[in-house]
Symmetry: C2
Subunit: 243 residues, 2 copies
Amino acid sequence: MSAAPPAVILVRPQLGQNIGSCARAMLNFGLTDLRLVAPRDGWPNVDAGPSASGADSVLADARVFDTLQEAVADLHYIYATTVRGRELTRPVVTPHRAAAEMRERDAPSGLLFGPERSGLLTTDLVVAHAILTVPVNPAFGSLNLAQAVLLAAYEWYQAGATTEASVLANYDAPAAHGELEGLIEAFDAELTAAGYFAPPETVAAKRMTLRNLLTRPAYSGKEVRTLRGMVTAFTGRRRSRQT
Amino acid sequence: MSAAPPAVILVRPQLGQNIGSCARAMLNFGLTDLRLVAPRDGWPNVDAGPSASGADSVLADARVFDTLQEAVADLHYIYATTVRGRELTRPVVTPHRAAAEMRERDAPSGLLFGPERSGLLTTDLVVAHAILTVPVNPAFGSLNLAQAVLLAAYEWYQAGATTEASVLANYDAPAAHGELEGLIEAFDAELTAAGYFAPPETVAAKRMTLRNLLTRPAYSGKEVRTLRGMVTAFTGRRRSRQT
């Protein structure tokens, strides 16, 4: 897990706004090495800053190269992000797999992304060791440049992230939300009748606590019905005492 | 793996352009159930179509609700996407974990996303069974609405995807790309001298084949140097025959 984050190489990028969006996507997941090969509108590009949304350091440190060969000369593992990988004999890997591979290696890696409109050419792909293809809906594959960068960067970060998901102790199927609302309303109505919601400055907090108590356990439909029966029993007893 | 794709519930979304971008992000990964709670600028919104980039069916089928409670009444598992989950007692899960959970269940799930500027309020979070938080660079967390939708949808699709990464048979460390370029140039120069690149209409194809032959195996630095030695040997022998 000692590998440096991969370089992101944008080959002949067209719009400065998209370069900025790529910088933002990168920095969210700890990638900072941005390389531009023959950007169409030159560099720096005033359109890049606003869409970087604060990832200015990535733009400031971006390096520009005349040729792709120069841009990747120091990289040992190069992934070309494209759906057009079939023309070359290369392994085709998912972003998840590529992230695992890059994490396992000590040598610097790079991720190539083509121009917005046309994508990478076959003559670009030849520098790559593998083709990175994002599995998408076969009926609708429409990822823009920054989204492709985001997904590759996301997987790289997750492959090294130590975040653990905390798990519900109770896996019984929760009731539909409408049933929970009905239960909350029943409690609220009876507690109101019982004068529970006083003094006024405590009402909001009491209602939030009530919601938390009833929604946090993810009660099943049967549990919700049982609780409503209890409310009826309690309040029936109270009313009988009042008569 | 029989679960339907989760619904995406946008709570008080502000910009139509972002709603369109969310629809595009969704459809890339097979999500089609878009629900809008009190969209700021009403619905339909003419700004949504262009940024949907063809995901018009998702926009056309989008349903609008006055309240969040109505929007989620039929859902059994609800994930609120936010970084502000600490105020409530809920499990906090990663997108990867949430995807696995949703795939395991037969009951319909939903993903809540808040307004662009403010995110979800605590009073929105109370309908959720869990908080979905994307692990990001602690020094720079800046995901926009469509990016958050994209990552959640991506993980849902990948959890059911059958795509397998194809693996390199040879895991020896490849040479740096600059070494490979040097090898290709050496072959090219000697083959040119040998008259290999003729007739003219075959030159481009021959050079592409040469590149493929030399780059596809991901030769190590030692293999590259060995190959260059062979070229020298071959051409030396040829020259000696010519004298």
